[in-house]
Symmetry: C2
Subunit: 457 residues, 2 copies
């Protein structure tokens, strides 16, 4: 990043001083991904100038790595011929991703300028549901026949290889049905006259076009593949998803989980590249909603105004009880949400999850209760109050019950969300906290009015 | 997973009924990773039996994919000869990872049974700091010389290829210094007499053995590499980190962030495979710590007992104010924590971050204040209270100030943590909440005592 910061400054200087020859040398020595990063933040005019200086072999990779807005600026500046060439150079999955993010008028121009087969593929990829394997796969893979020799296979790879997303895993098909997988590695080591059919693995792990992309990425990771084949409803091979896309999906989904857990509408854009209004839009609806939901807590607190007036010392422990409940509930809910999201926890595990959380919460409650008792008595000074001992006991018992309730609510709600096909992450800490706040207040005041003499009777 | 559940049941049945021939067939048709998953939960005796039936070519991959406890059980059952063979079959990075997780007596046995060069490598890998590139790299890569032809390069790959972690990216060295990188793809397409030196890229992106593994994984992802070369302090090539390890690091770090954000001591084990006591240990210290920290909030609340007694209606809005502050603070802190963790935010961006959060928090505050006012007046019924209008105004202004303070604290603390080389994630929501709780109470009661006639003067 430090280096790209310098690269950015250097590019700016060369453009301002019109040293385009130097700029060209600079580009030719840099990595396309770094160039894309360094071009970010140039004015439209500078960007277009810089892009024209970029050596042809780097242009497509740099373009694919840019932000949406800059791609849009450049497309506006392209002639139809340049547009045709650029989309011919791009991988079909990159091309489809770019098209899917552009406004309609630009999409029309792109599709009008690309060749028939590219247009056909892009249209097809765009038809798959968002977040499905179909939407991130590429039709660019190498397929072989069982009867081919290794030598013939390599000839085919040489012939078509440069245009393909990955050549290292080849797919053996028969009537477009996938019958085997063979790696370039095993072919390199084998005798050139060996038949592909003798080298291939027939125990194939594939995914369907309609599978969720998170599942697909998980399979690639689990089995350590460089790519996974995607088949349609009739088991015909229609594309592959490659490991670089899998990494993106894994990171994206983790970020999405983190954002939802924190009550932020998920967005893929890096923070520094999002405007304040954009960030406000991601955050404010949740703040408003949670603020309104806290009405329940206020109402409950209002119900106990009498008890509080009679024994105001009870009041100062409310934040501690609600806080501990909220923290205990988040711990459970976030753990379960992430487990469901990674596929480590299945719906059939629900009872095991509840049983485990029950034991964990009892352990936590029984550990914290004595600490709370001591804190309330000596740190908060209840020992000096008239009914201090009783109140400290009430607080400690409340903490145990609150932790158990919080952890159970935290464990069950994400599972319920999953059952009704919602993203479990909507049941994250802030919502759990609202429920647990209300619960803990009821428990606290119920115990208090039962045992504290000033309130009882 | 569903399938592996069945596989697990089938394996158990075959072992119980002593159908070892059927078990062997079952294994030979299954994927090694699935077998490792299905073996989980067998008794020690069943596990050892099943593992002995496993075809040799699957044994190492299955073993590497198992949980630590099961690997330990199996190692106990291995003869020295078997141990020697197993560690000869494993990739050196897998071998080092397994060794690093074993208790000392087993480590001694493993190192005593492996051959000299394996032992040497494992010892070397174990010396690199935890979480460094050195600790996850493998010395198993293919190196070529500039003067070799493509044909000679392929001969070398054929000769040594099967033992290497990845053969698809080859490294060109001179006196052990890295001078270029060449892909099998470019060599496959080139004429066999082409010199490697003419095909290789000299613009190499490499990492140092001491670089953080998260940074290394980020580089692999960013540049779309299958592997990245690792060099030592003298720029000599000592190993590579492959993309499968990068994926693991990326997912692991995301999980670690999520766990720390939720006040859980990070652990890599899947939830269902951790015992209740283990989970309790991850969670209870934070609950106790945060509970004790809430003493500040209690103390502050105690300070205003007089004001509260005079105007008890103020009390029921405290959870809403503290809750909104906590949520606003989490949104900022988690966003910044994740940005720092992904390398999207650098320390030099601190001022930009503060400026952005200031604008976002003003936008959020100004949006929420009128909603809060209306809610307090009509939903919570302040319109019927004697000083209701003034209190509702006080609450709304408090919300604006609290949100701004919360977002600034949330943005600044993770950056401060980073500056003093702590993991920014320790400054996550629960800690921010404790600070914001205290802040918001002070703001609330300061405004209230200034403007609410019953309290003022």
């Amino acid at each position: 990043m430090e280096e790209n910061f310098d690269l950015h400054e250097q590019i700016k200087t060369f453009i301002e001083e019109r040293h385009f020859k130097d700029l060209q040398v600079l580009f030719s020595e840099a990595n396309a991904i770094d160039i894309a990063e360094a071009l970010y933040g140039l004015s439209e005019k500078e960007l277009i100038l810089a892009f024209r200086v970029l050596p042809k072999e780097q242009a497509a990779e740099t373009f694919a790595a840019m932000e949406r807005e800059e791609q849009e600026m450049l497309i506006h500046s392209f002639t139809d011929r340049e547009l045709y060439e650029m989309f011919g150079e791009l991988g079909l999955d990159d091309a489809a991703e770019i098209v899917s993010e552009m406004p309609a008028n630009i999409v029309a121009r792109i599709l009008g300028s690309t060749d028939r087969s590219t247009r056909h593929y892009i249209n097809k990829l765009l038809l798959y549901p968002q977040d499905s394997a179909g939407s991130i796969m590429t039709p660019e893979y190498i397929y072989l026949r069982q009867g081919m020799t290794v030598e013939e296979a390599f000839m085919k790879i040489r012939l078509v290889g440069l245009d393909k997303e990955t050549i290292y895993t080849c797919y053996v098909t028969e009537n477009r049905k996938l019958v085997g997988v063979v790696s370039v590695r095993s072919m390199l080591i084998a005798d050139p006259s060996t038949k592909v059919g003798d080298l291939m693995h027939e125990n194939i792990i594939s995914v369907k076009t309609t599978d969720d992309k998170e599942f697909v990425a998980g399979q690639i990771k689990k089995y350590g593949y460089l790519a996974i084949p995607v088949v349609d409803g009739e088991d015909k091979l229609v594309g592959i998803v490659t490991i670089d896309d899998a990494i993106e999906v894994i990171e994206e989904e983790a970020n999405e989980d983190i954002q939802m857990i924190t009550a932020i509408t998920p967005d893929e854009r890096p923070y520094l590249r999002s405007g304040a209004v954009k960030i406000w839009k991601q955050r404010v609806p949740w703040l408003v909603l949670l603020m309104l939901l806290s009405t329940f807590t206020s109402k409950i607190l209002g119900m106990y105004e009498g008890a509080l007036s009679a024994c105001i010392v009870l009041n100062s422990f409310i934040p501690m009880i609600m806080g501990t409940g909220g923290n205990a509930g988040s711990q459970a809910s976030v753990t379960i949400i992430r487990g469901l999201s990674l596929g480590e926890i299945k719906l059939r595990d629900t009872l095991r999850v509840i049983w485990k959380e029950l034991r964990v919460s009892l352990l936590c409650g029984l550990t914290i209760a004595p600490v709370t008792f001591l804190k309330a008595m000596y740190l908060d000074g209840l020992y000096a109050e008239p009914e201090g001992f009783t109140i400290a006991i009430v607080i400690s018992v409340t903490i145990i019950v609150t932790i158990c309730a919080a952890k159970l609510v935290g464990a069950i709600l994400p599972v319920l969300a999953k059952i009704v096909h919602l993203d479990p992450a909507v049941m994250a800490s802030p919502f759990i906290t609202v429920i647990v706040d209300a619960l803990s207040l009821v428990v606290y005041f119920t115990f208090a009015s039962m045992f504290v003499p000033a309130l009882a009777g």
